[in-house]
Amino acid sequence: MDFEFSDVQEMLRKDARRFLTEKCPKAYVRKMEEDEKGFTADLWKEMAGLGWMGLVFPEKYGGLDMTFLEMAVLLEEMGRACLPGPYFSTVFLGGLPILEAGTEEQKQEFLPKIARGELIITTALTEPSGVYEPTGIEVKATAQGDKYIIDGTKLFVADAHVADYMIVAARTAPGKSRGISLFLVDAKSPGIKCTMLKTIASDKQCEVVFNKVAVPKKNLLGKLNQAWPLVERILLLAAAGKCAEMVGGAQQVLEMTVDYAKQRIQFGRPIGSFQAVQHHCANMATDVEGSRFITYQAAWMLSLNMPCDKEVSMAKAWVSDAYRRVVTLGHQVHGGIGFTKDHDMQLYFRRAKAGEVLFGDGDYHREKVAQALSL
């Protein structure tokens, strides 16, 4: 049993924190919320230079061959910094699916470019039905010669507006979880219309309409009609990664809140000397502590390739709710000043909600845990 990070992980954390403190200050975060692309090419290039995109790719694809534990540490720092941009999409909704299920040719074609920061990828999975279920997929891919023709609407597609490729989940045969396939679609294909949604976390999610979009058969990712298990795997990794990001955000909110409670004077003393405020902070600390354990249990199991559907669901369910509690209490302690756009609290509050609902919220994952208990 070991609840500490390795030297490599500590160094990664330190370096990431130093880099992001300098290159991703809150002024940048705020600017990117209003920016059409949502990130700068310069920062993207520097991150690639640090090896971040290919952190967990094997060396032969240009990666650093690190594990999910190191990824979790890095994601924590990104969550702490509110890093904007398509990193999470490119890695979890692009690189990792290809690494898991791509042909050797596909891996060679895509992974090194992703690692070098030359490709941005996302996955177009959810639709107006708004569920992470195969029954929610109505986008069709119809075989036509050496191509598939994709028709339909995808919703809540992260970073579609800057993606070079989209992994699109489409129905290729009737059925429930059978009949779903995944395609690597060139984003410049004719017939794709991308509309930016305005979201609470200002995080560049799009509606993507596919109108007779042709994709070569060789761009099938995984098995025809049998891609739903791969989708589940993508959701599993993304849920775990999102937890790590949320832990980083929650830790920062706790620190900000404690600092404020020590400084803000009312009734002739710091508000942090009042029990009501102390208890809010204690509850936040407890939630952050719990979130860290349940997240790193999942990350550790993933790093060792252990089956961990239940543990990832436990983590996502807990952290989804815990981070929400933390940001809510953070706002309460900050009082009026926290309720302004200028203050950083709202950056975390809004991102906490996105983190909660993406890749399955508390209810969704509690249901999975209940199933694991044979209830």
Binding site: M1, G272, Q275, A282, F293, I294, Y296, A299, A317, A370
Partner: protein
């Protein structure tokens, strides 16, 4: 980062399970929480039977130095032991002696005191109680009024203790008494060890909300404690007491007890699905049950984390209160979810016709009220997390 137990640790866990299978009669129910062991004669008797056997195996005070009956094994293993004892509802672990008094004596005791008291605790031969709280000194423990006047080689005690768990069962008491009434509150207290058979000691039962007799009032009428039983310096008992409260525990027994009850409820719900005996549809309760499973997992790691820190020789200043608050409140939530699953049947108490799960859910539902009160209330624990843990200024 490694959430796996070592092979030896897993083997040890199995060793405990094998022992309990052998020693506990088939169908053994036991108490839902270790403090409830004090209430029922049958359970208490089993505890007295098991304690020396556990002591002989060296499992009671595993992390202590060998010369005092310990095995110098890890805190993690000690926690594994406590977890399995709690989950399997096996009595016989004297928490007051093992987790509070013992470690305190290791830190502050004289060689003579260590020689006299520690080995019997480790061997399961003595049972201790804690003489801290008084009617005017609950959360404000430093306000103790029981007087200890030094006279002819003794401290003469006059006063009263309250909420003394196991006072009616104990051989020895460790207590706080005021040795300098003129000094500031925190600086006039001393930590003493008292034989419960000392003349002038009167124990009066207090009945808890369940109608059970677990704790007591203890009155001192010129009871004499030899000065050799002073632990630490005279008038410096507060230092000793504060350290003791942090040797506290991982709190794993709270999580394990709650987990055992929840497992029984889940099994009932699963069976009820088939037999139609659960009056609540499973669709309504599955989310609640899943949430409890998740929280128990979180609480379990919080507990092991405390032991991990203690194993490193550090003080779990923030981790122990976090584990205490979370674990005790979780017991209440688990019991409540259990009651919700049982719906009307949750009302039935042990001995009633139509009883389910022996009335254990209703029992924990009521007894868990005390868990956020004893051992430092949740409010005090949150104060500690905030001040000692997060560095927030005191009021």
């Amino acid at each position: 980062m490694n959430f796996a137990f070592a092979k030896e640790e897993e083997a040890f866990r199995q060793e405990i399970l094998n022992f309990l299978k052998q020693e506990l009669p088939p169908g053994w129910i036991g108490a839902t929480y270790y403090e409830d062991e004090l209430e029922e004669e049958e359970i208490w008797a089993m505890g007295r039977k098991l304690a020396p056997k556990l002591g002989q195996k060296g499992w009671l005070a595993m992390a202590w130095p060998k010369e005092y009956g310990g095995q110098e094994r890890s805190h993690i293993e000690q926690t594994i032991f406590k977890e399995e004892m709690a989950y399997n509802r096996a009595p016989g672990v004297d928490m007051a002696g093992i987790s509070m008094c013992g470690p305190t004596m290791l830190a502050f005791g004289t060689p003579e005191q260590k020689r006299q008291f520690l080995t019997p605790i480790a061997k399961g031969e003595t049972f201790w109680c804690q003489g801290f709280s008084e009617p005017e000194a609950g959360s404000d423990l430093a306000a103790v009024r029981t007087k200890a006047v030094e006279q002819n080689g003794y401290f003469v005690l006059n006063g009263q203790k309250v909420w003394t768990s196991g006072g009616h069962r104990a051989d020895w008491m460790f207590l706080l008494a005021r040795t300098d009434p003129d000094a500031p509150k925190h600086k006039g207290i001393s930590f003493l060890l008292m034989d419960m058979k000392t003349p002038g000691v009167e124990i009066r039962p207090l009945v808890n909300i369940l109608g059970g007799h677990a704790f007591n009032e203890v009155f001192f009428d010129n009871a004499r404690v030899p000065v050799a039983n002073l632990v630490g310096k005279k008038n410096d008992g507060w230092t000793v007491a504060t350290a003791l409260l942090n040797f506290e525990r991982s709190g794993i027994e709270r999580v394990a007890s709650a987990r055992r009850l929840l497992d029984e409820v889940i099994e009932l719900v699963r069976e009820g699905e088939k037999t139609g005996t659960v009056s609540r549809p499973v669709e309504v309760i599955r989310q609640k049950l899943a949430e409890m499973v998740i929280e128990l997992e979180v609480g379990r790691w919080m507990g092991y984390h405390v032991s991990y820190i203690q194993q490193k020789g550090q003080m779990p200043w923030v981790e122990a209160p976090i584990s205490k608050v979370f674990g005790s409140e979780l017991m209440q939530r688990v019991a409540n979810v259990g009651m919700q699953c049982l719906s009307l049947y949750g009302q039935l108490e042990k001995g009633s016709k139509w009883i389910t799960l022996g009335g254990r859910v209703a029992h924990m539902y009521q007894s868990s009220l005390g868990r956020t009160l004893g051992g430092g209330t949740s409010e005090i624990q949150r104060n500690l997390i905030a001040t000692k843990g997060l560095g927030l200024p005191r009021g």
